[in-house]
Symmetry: C2
């Protein structure tokens, strides 16, 4: 069945009212608050149909209706209109992000924090996916016998390092030879094309005894792989408790419990990113309620956008909030933060 115009308006109105009042909405209050040119009985008929179609539901027989996941989905896909943030709100966000940090990571954390403050929800960001960026420099610095620091400068303007163990009796000079060889042969190679074999090949020809060489090369490889690992930044978890939607302790507990396993959340965001439809240039991903395959997020919506550090290096930033949220507002907030982030990131590349 198709939604005729009035039914669309009714659904739109129900979502709006429910979002703003947090009470199931009935046919009568719908008439009161909106300019429907029909009677409440007519709306009741419409609502019965919307319910039949699975777009709204009632908590109990004699209560008003609330949107179902499917209803929110319809609202987000076809009904709502995104409006720009007010200049005031824009300014507020720009002011908080502008801080002239020197590292991309700080910029991202900064943006995440700002987003959480602006929306009042939990916000999160993934670190840039660096597998498509390539090595610009790689140095190995001896720290003390048996310990060295591998420093990598990547094309995306990111610096990574890792402390590694090396053989105790290897000399400074030997380390420098190896480091030079790796750098010479691997510079320009994207991280996802660097394997243990590549590194070992790159290090061949170095005049360093085999077992020593092999261990250092392995550690260098491990450092490079670690640089490629994804991090997730979560902010504002405590704001959950301010929301009436999570006033039932149990829900709040489940949600925070799940969020505390940041690895799992990161994995999920990654999965979302991979299944994203890249054919459109719309970089938003929206998951509503049960669409989210994480425990305890049944009452949440999960919205992320993709930011770009370079053409081929990107990450995600977004929020986890209650399903009952002002979608149009939140989406423009995320969009604005994302754009600001993209702009600021140009400084680094």
């Amino acid at each position: 069945m198709q939604l005729d115009n009035r039914k669309k308006e009714v659904l739109h109105a129900i979502v709006d009212d429910y979002v703003s009042t947090n009470e199931p909405v009935g046919s009568k209050s719908l008439i009161e608050r909106h300019n429907f040119q029909v009677s409440s009985a007519t709306l009741r008929n419409d609502m019965a149909e919307l319910e039949h179609m699975g777009l709204i539901e009632k908590p109990h027989t004699s209560a008003g209706r609330i949107p179902s996941d499917k209803g929110y989905r319809e609202y987000v896909n076809s009904l709502m209109t995104i409006e720009e943030l007010s200049p005031r709100e824009q300014l507020e966000i720009e002011k908080r992000i502008d801080s002239s940090v020197d590292e991309v990571t700080d910029l991202i954390k900064n943006a995440t924090h700002t987003l959480s403050e602006a929306t009042g929800f939990v916000s999160l960001a993934m670190s840039p996916r660096l597998r498509k960026s390539f090595l610009k420099q790689l140095k190995i610095l001896m720290i003390e016998p048996g310990k060295a620091l591998v420093i990598m400068v990547l094309s995306a303007g990111v610096v990574k390092d890792k402390v590694v163990r090396i053989p105790n009796f290897i000399s400074d000079e030997q380390i420098m030879k190896i480091s030079g060889a790796i750098e010479k042969n691997l510079t320009g190679k994207p991280l996802d094309e660097i394997t243990l074999v590549t590194v070992e090949t790159a290090g061949k020809g170095t005049e360093v005894p085999e077992p020593l060489l092999k261990q250092v090369l392995y550690e260098a490889y491990a450092a490079i792989k670690q640089a490629d690992e994804l991090n997730i930044y979560l902010e504002g978890e405590h704001r959950i408790l301010e929301l009436p939607d999570f006033s039932s302790l149990g829900r709040a507990r489940d949600l925070l419990g799940t969020l505390s396993d940041s690895g799992m959340v990161a994995g999920y965001v990654n999965e979302m990113e991979n299944s994203r439809d890249h054919s459109t240039d719309d970089s938003f991903m929206i998951r509503i309620g049960q669409e989210i395959a994480l425990e305890g997020l049944d009452d949440c919506s999960f919205i992320t956008a993709t930011y770009n550090l370079t053409d081929s290096v990107s990450g995600n930033i977004g929020v986890i909030g209650p399903k009952r949220m002002l979608y149009s507002k939140v989406i423009s907030q995320i969009d604005f933060v994302k754009k600001k982030l993209n702009k600021e990131m140009q400084r680094f590349t």
Copy 2:
């Protein structure tokens, strides 16, 4: 008034019972659960006196008694006996911390996580206070025109780095000269004795034009100062919600709100550390309820111990849990984790 022996036993019993049942304890149940050789009426008299002394209080006229902050304090100071962890528990902790990480920071995070899991409370750790450690190496690595990485190796076995801005047109060679000069002159100096002036003096004599030199020296100084900054690691905030003590949403919200400002918590821990009584070798700090000068922690106890990375470089690790906790158990857990941490840290120095 002095506490006679029986009153001590009564207080002890009240704390124990309240901790284990989470219900105000009355004279009758006290008799039932413990082997007092007197009647409940006698205990009632004792309890009235304990209340008069401010050690216990009643939620309402006709309820049992619960320990006051002062009562817990007395319990912690004089009544409880610390028992060792069972071998089983020890093993559990050792297993989780043993992981052979290569950086001190990871080790600390690891320990913090373990402590939170073991206690079921929020745990936290401060990064080592590095001001007494000294520079062993300082390198400045050019990343790209206008950007460099300052790398510092400290005596405590810690590596720190920071991306800094440098003049666009400075040469690799000039940077190396400056870096060499700083390293040569400042190696061996404790961080807290390094000031902007010290760094500028160290860099004198370098054959680099004044304004360029000055900016690089300033950035190097800033990097050193940043290495000295304290970090705090918090773990397991979500566990708060599992505790019956914080089932009243409002309290949980206040607590998590306060904890979300990690800078503030860090400042408080620092203050505690500074006011610690260093004359005894007891490295525990215990703050109960209102003794904690942080909003929303009225129902909490805050217990930390001091770990040592080297003789002069230390940090704190501990928990924030409900006042109504098994103090002896929690203290031995912290103690055990701290000792394990100290042991593992020897690898790094």
